[in-house]
Amino acid sequence: MTEGSTANPGLLVLEPRPASRRVWAADVWAHREVFAMLAQKDFQTRYKRASLGVLWAVAVPVLQGVVLAVVFSKIVRFGGAEGFGAYVFGGVLAFSYFSGTMAAGVTSIVDGAGLTDKVWFPRVLLVLVPGVANLVGLCVSMVVLIVALPFLGVTIGPRIMLLVPATALLVGFTIALSMVVSALHVYFRDVKFLVQAALLMWLYVTPILYPKELLGGLAPWIDLNPLTGIVTLIHMATLGGDEAWVRPVVVSIVATVALALAGVEGQRRHDRLFVDYL
């Protein structure tokens, strides 16, 4: 909660305009320990009363991935060659992080009202919490994916390292979108339901459960979906070879940067106004 001149570091000045970019950024940084504590609390309390505890953070997405991989590679067959199980599994793990984080992220500021109308910290921390708390589950799931690959008939190569940028891009995009929709949700409470509906459709407009080639002429359109680039990177890491990877990945990066800029700016400008609408 510091602001203003270096001559008087303990001074907080509140005016009818948002804090400057520099002051806001410094404020967010000053609250890093609070953020770590909030993320830890979110992670712990979620699994507090379950006897398997934190294991669920991994078990749920993995189970989801296994079920869908089996269904779409053994029962519903969209063609798909060798390793289609791995194809589905990787995509589902990524999507499960995305949808789980978005569902919590969109309401994060509104749900945090009990905290936010009493003590000050940049509200953006609340938005970052689900993204970071779910990261633990995502990383462990990625390890499970790597371990499972040989059993799914896929040989692991150095290309597996692509999982790192893929995960980074996934987390970046998810958090950037969360920042935008959580701010909108404070003012328009329809946003939560729009996001829920969008998540439902999003799984099917991303090449996760079917090979992209199946779409034929529609394939270029699916590249405009920022998740396509992320999933494509995962497929390249596990199965290799996708000559048309550049376009979807560039779309993902551009979308992530644009949303992050809009999200940060929105969060900064409305930081001390959100509370009036909670």
Partner: protein, 408 residues
């Protein structure tokens, strides 16, 4: 003490938009939509300077802007006009136990709460024993707080807040809960913080707490600062406003109250009384319809609605017939022998047989009585307790008069 104020407000206002229909995403995207909203100033044009080490009370009816002001001082909400400058760390005690999670233990919650109030993890570590000691929770600190009683919950929350060593402590209504012993402990702790140079702002409906702790009191009315003065004057004005505004609702029936005044022995109009000091409640009434020998009933009602006292003129005693427009003076003389608190003085007028009511007040006039020290309850029995022959109820030594100079 520096010359820099702890808190400075210049021209501060807070506007809310009262939207008559819910904000709709689709509607807001439509061009040329009619904006159906009204502005509402929760706080307007407040200029204020509070120096380090001051303890200031804030009074006002619900909706007077007290909570909005505290929110802005807590840094949670930005003003719509003006500027607020706050020096140092603010510990908002606006709700006790901010961020407490029911499933987490007392220990974990101390860290969450302490860090939200601005401590680092290391600072919480260093203060943990002192916090635990203050909260009197040994043996329960590793129990999830959902198993805590409300008193334990409150004690833990308060313990953390006062150990943050804030420059500015904002207290909202928390003194209303907790047993007397813990309340005294909280008062003591606030005095200690104050002597360390902390600035304390207290919003409370408890005149008792305000009187004991705050030499300076601010009265807010309709979002504006109505009065900034010493405690007695502000409490008196507050009760006066409560009485006046209570009547704006109006009374119906056959009798109108034209004037009312509560007078102390010197004939001064007052809104607070002293124990066992006679008061004279004077009313001037006008009859709107004819009535024969009406009966007057006088009630004293405690804040929670308990009837503390009732007295009426003899029923059926014929004295006079009144026609429409006739006026009458009533004088009700009494001596308060009640416990501390705010009471309502209510009057009813019934017909000769006590059946038909021409007036039945629900707001009346407010009377504030300071509690005799060390007592609570609705009556003042003037009790004293001796232990082995020594009088143990002389509370003069406990008097936490904030106006007294601070001992080193």
């Amino acid at each position: 003490m520096t010359s820099e104020p702890a808190i400075q407000l210049s021209g501060v206002g807070k506007r809310y938009w009262q939207v008559n229909e819910r904000a709709m995403l689709l509607k807001s995207l439509m061009p040329f939509r009619r904006v159906d909203r009204r502005e509402l100033w929760a706080v307007r044009d407040v200029d204020l300077r509070i120096d380090p080490g001051e303890t200031v009370g804030i009074l006002g009816r619900n909706g007077a802007g007290k909570t909005t002001l505290l929110r802005m001082l807590a840094g949670v909400s930005q003003p719509s006009t003006g500027q607020i400058r706050i020096q140092g760390r603010v510990a908002p005690l606006i709700g006790v136990g901010v961020g407490f999670h029911q499933e987490m233990s007392g220990r974990e919650n101390v860290y969450v709460n302490g860090m939200l109030l601005g401590l680092t993890r290391a600072e919480v570590d260093a203060r943990f024993d002192a916090i635990l000691d203050f909260a009197e929770l040994e043996g329960f600190i590793d129990t999830p707080v959902k198993f805590y009683s409300s008193g334990m919950f409150m004690r833990l929350g308060f313990a953390v807040a006062v150990h943050v060593r804030p420059s500015v402590l904002l207290v909202d209504e928390v003194l209303a809960v907790g047993d007397i012993a813990f309340q005294l402990k909280c008062f003591e702790r606030m005095r200690a913080l104050k002597s360390e140079g902390a600035t304390v702002l207290i919003v409370s409906h408890s005149m008792h707490a305000i009187r004991l702790l705050c030499p300076r009191v601010l009265l807010f009315r309709h979002g504006a600062l109505e009065l900034d003065s010493e405690a007695e004057a502000v409490i008196a004005r507050h009760h006066e406003l409560l009485s006046i505004e209570g009547h704006e609702a109006g009374s119906g029936g056959g009798v109108t109250v034209l004037e009312r005044a509560l007078l102390d022995p010197s004939g001064q109009q007052v809104h607070h009384g002293e124990q066992r000091t006679p008061l004279d409640y004077r009313l001037r009434l006008r009859f709107e319809r004819p009535v024969d020998s009406p009966q007057l009933l006088f009630y004293v009602v405690a804040q929670d609605g308990t009837l503390a006292y009732e007295m009426k003129t003899e029923i059926g005693r014929s004295h006079r017939r009144f026609g429409p427009g006739d006026e009458i003076d009533a004088s009700i003389k009494f001596e308060p022998r009640l416990g501390g608190g705010t009471y309502r003085l209510l009057v009813s007028i019934a017909d000769l047989h006590g059946r038909d009511f021409l007036l039945r007040e629900s707001e009346g006039t407010l009377l504030y009585l300071a509690p005799p020290l060390g007592t609570a309850g609705v009556a003042d029995l003037g009790a004293s307790i001796e232990l082995d022959g020594t009088e143990m109820t002389d509370h003069a030594s406990l008097l936490l008069d904030a106006r007294a100079p601070d001992e080193a």
